[in-house]
């Protein structure tokens, strides 16, 4: 038994016990929230269909391998395996696109391989930067975002490089 196996049951227990202690009708509230979660899954389905189709075709054509080979030298310089570069490019632009590529990396290289782990940390430690910027500034009609994009993209890049560094440190290559 490790800390990793404990965390999810612990979080679930903690939330339920605290909820009951605070007088929340935990089951009814859970159902409400779960319904919203299902809605989210349904909402992303159309973009998953579009993106899985185009990414799948792109991969089958051999173009993805060429792209990876093309980016390999740059990726090496950033300490990243070339195989995760498509994920790094798509991650800030499209959440479902990144999810499709991520899922594909897991299927191709295995989730417990070096590449699979680096991709997992990248996916788990970043957000859809462009989407967030568009939604937040769009809501207040701000068109000059000044240093938002450079700062956000630097953060993304540092996160990606650190993902590979941390996986090397914790799991080795």
């Amino acid at each position: 038994m490790s800390f990793n196996d404990l965390i999810i049951p612990l979080v679930l227990c903690g939330i339920l016990i605290y909820g009951i202690y605070r007088g929340v009708d935990v089951f009814d509230v859970f159902l409400d929230g779960a319904k919203e979660g299902l809605g989210t899954a349904v909402n992303i389905l159309p973009s998953l269909v579009a993106l899985m189709t185009c990414v799948g075709m792109f991969k089958a054509s051999g173009a993805l391998d060429l792209l990876v080979r093309l980016f390999n030298p740059i990726a090496k310089y950033l300490l990243l395996p070339g195989e995760v570069v498509p994920l790094a490019i798509l991650r800030p632009i499209s959440g479902s696109g990144a999810m499709v590529i991520f899922n594909d990396i897991l299927a191709t290289y295995g989730p417990d391989s070096f590449i699979g782990r680096v991709a997992s940390v990248m996916e788990g430690s970043s957000e859809t930067t462009f989407y967030t910027i568009a939604v937040y500034y769009g809501a207040v009609k701000v068109s000059k975002t000044r240093h938002t994009l450079p700062a956000s993209l630097t953060a993304d890049l540092v996160g990606f490089v650190m993902s590979a560094v941390m996986v090397r440190l914790i799991f080795g290559t």
Partner: protein, 201 residues
Amino acid sequence: MMKWIFSGLIVASLVFGVGLGRMDAVSNAAITECGGAVKLAITLAGSMALWSGMMRIAQKAGITERLSRLFAPVVRVLFRGLPPESPAAQAMCLNISANLLGLGNAATPLGIAAMRQLDLLNRHSPEASNYMCMFVVLNTASLQVIPTTTALLRANAGSAAPMEIMPATWVASGASILSGILVAKLLEGRRGNTRQRRGRR
């Protein structure tokens, strides 16, 4: 943006598929991959429902509010000059806590409420204030403590320990957030947060 990625990838697969003689595989992918998308969505649906349900309980029990009090000092440092009890600061604290809990659906409306307040302070200028930039940079970085979707996809792909990436994820997102804050602070210059009346005759 997405329309170019979508059509670009499909056109590229035709070109490369013909060039590399892999048209059969490309055609196959076009027929079968869309079914894979439905499978993926079904896999995600269960976990998304479970965590939204649990986090809704957390929210109703007041965990978000409790957490948000913890962030008042952070907000004071990052948004110097903004009173911690102002509606903008409070909405930002709530947004940060919702993000930490992975409550995407709750975090976005709270974040937009915070942006509206910052927009008032900025006198509805079309140009972002330093506060806005900092706040949006925080939101473009991942604050989520438990990467549930990532762990689920790992488990689904047959990982022996889907959660083992968590410590690495924390360090990577921590470094990412810090560098974002640093660059934002460096680039924000001397301009104030309530917009100065530059260019006024």
